[in-house]
Symmetry: C2
Subunit: 282 residues, 2 copies
Amino acid sequence: MAKESGITRIAVCQIEPVFGEVQRNADTTLEAIAAAAAAGADAVVLPELASTGYMFANRAEAFELSQEAGRHAVTGQWLRAAAEHQLIVVGGFAERDGDVLYNAAFLARPDGRWSVYRKVHLWDEEALYFEPGNLGFPVVDLPFGRVGMMICYDGWFPEAYRALADSGADLVCVPTNWVPLEGHPDGQPAMATVLVRAAAHVNGLVVAAADRVGRERGQDFIGQSVIVSHTGLVLAGPASSTEPALLWADVNLGETRRSRGWGRFNHLLADRRPDAYGPSRA
Amino acid sequence: MAKESGITRIAVCQIEPVFGEVQRNADTTLEAIAAAAAAGADAVVLPELASTGYMFANRAEAFELSQEAGRHAVTGQWLRAAAEHQLIVVGGFAERDGDVLYNAAFLARPDGRWSVYRKVHLWDEEALYFEPGNLGFPVVDLPFGRVGMMICYDGWFPEAYRALADSGADLVCVPTNWVPLEGHPDGQPAMATVLVRAAAHVNGLVVAAADRVGRERGQDFIGQSVIVSHTGLVLAGPASSTEPALLWADVNLGETRRSRGWGRFNHLLADRRPDAYGPSRA
C-alpha cells in the first residue's frame, strides 16, 4: 500500500445511482469514497450526476433534485468525507445556482476548500434542463499536482483537453455517464475510452474517468471506467460494463509536463501551428 | 468486387522503401498501385517519403534525393498511374521547391490535375532538412467526396483534423512513417492507431493511414496501416507490423457529414465552445 515519494494514488468509483433518490445516492458515494480511502487513494472520482441519476423527465424534476454547491447537501457530505479521509473528492451533481441549473462537478479538498466545474458541452436533452457551463475549464492547484475536470460529452472536444493542458493541468478527472453508441460492436472497448487514451497521449495528461452502470428510464449506461497514463496507456480498467467497481492507479504527476517535450525538437503543446489551421482549399 | 452506388473503395499500400533508391521505390509504389487497382480501389494511399526513405543523414542528402512536384519524376509516375488505373493516388515524397525542401504528400488525379500538401508539424530531425508546411491543410474536391491530407506527426494535433473537417473534408489520407514509442507494451495496438480512431470519431471523418515497415539506419518503423470509419471503427487493418500489405475498405463518404449531427440537439463541430477554451484557474 505504501506509495513512493511523488506518487499519487488516483481512484475511480463506478457506481449505480438510483434515479431521484438523492440521499441514498449520496450514501452510496460515501461508501465508495471510504472504500477508495481504505485502498490508499489521494483522490477519488465519482460519476456525473452521481447524486440524482441522469434521466430527468423535465426541468421541474431536475430543479427539484438539484442542490446548491457548498457545505450543505451532497457537496457538504463530500467535503466532510474529504476531511475525514484526507483526500480529494471529485463528483458530479445537479447544481442549482439561484434559478439556474448546471450539470456540474464538485471538487472537495480536505481543508474544506472547494471548486466547481460546470459542463461546457451539453449532451442531448440536458440542454432542456441545464445551462451551458460558464466557468471555462478551471484548473485547481493541489499539493500533489494541478487538477482539471470535464464531464462526459466534453471529452468529444479535443479543445477541452487542450484548454486544461494550456492551463497547466496534470490530471483530468472525468465524472461521466457514457451511453451505448449505435453500431458499436460488442466486445470492443468503448469509443469513449479510445477518446480518453488519445487525449491523454497527445496532451501528456493523466485522465481518470468514473462512469456509472445500470439502466434508468430505458437508458443504459456502459460503465468501463478507466484510468489512463499521460502516455495514453490504460493503468486501471476498463471496469465492468454492468457492475459497480473500484479502480485505482499510482501516477507520477511530475512526469506529465516532462512528457510533453519529445526529444530535442518537439513539444506536444509548443509544436501547434495556429497559422496553419484556417480554412484551406486546394 | 462490385460496389454499390455512393460507395468509394479506399486502399492503403504498406510498403518498405529502400533508403535513397528513388527509382526502385517508385517502382514499388507503382506495383502497389496496380495491386490496389486490381482490387477495385478508387483511391490509393502510400506512405510518407515513399520515394526516398526517411533517415536522411544531413540536408545535402535530403536535397539530393528530393524532386519537384509535377509531371516528371516520381510524382509524374503517380500521375500516369492515376490515369492508367483511373483512381486517385496519394503518396509521400521529398519535395524540392527551388532551394527549399518539404516533407510533402502528392495527390494525383486521373485527369492529370494534382495537389500538394506540405507537412505542417515536423518530427524530430526533419526540422534539419525540411521547412514547416506553408499550405495549411488543403481540401481537394473530387467526384466521390472531399479529400484532405496529413502526414504522421500531424496526427498528434487534433487541430489538424479539425481544420480538415472545417474545410469540408470527408476523407483524410495519411501517408506516415510511424516509429515505435518508448514504453509501449508489445501486442497492444499502436497509439498512432488510437489517435486515428479518436480523430475519425470526434470529427466524422474517414481516415486512411498508410505506414511503412522495415528498419533503416537503425530506425524501426511499425506498419499497422489502418482504415477507419467516420465513427472511429476499424474497417481494415491494422496491417502487419513487419510486412508489406494491401488493405482496402468500402466507405460511404455521404455519411461523414450526416454523422456529425447527433440527434436533435448535438453536432460535433457546431457544439464547440471557443468562448470556454481560454485560460482558467479555480
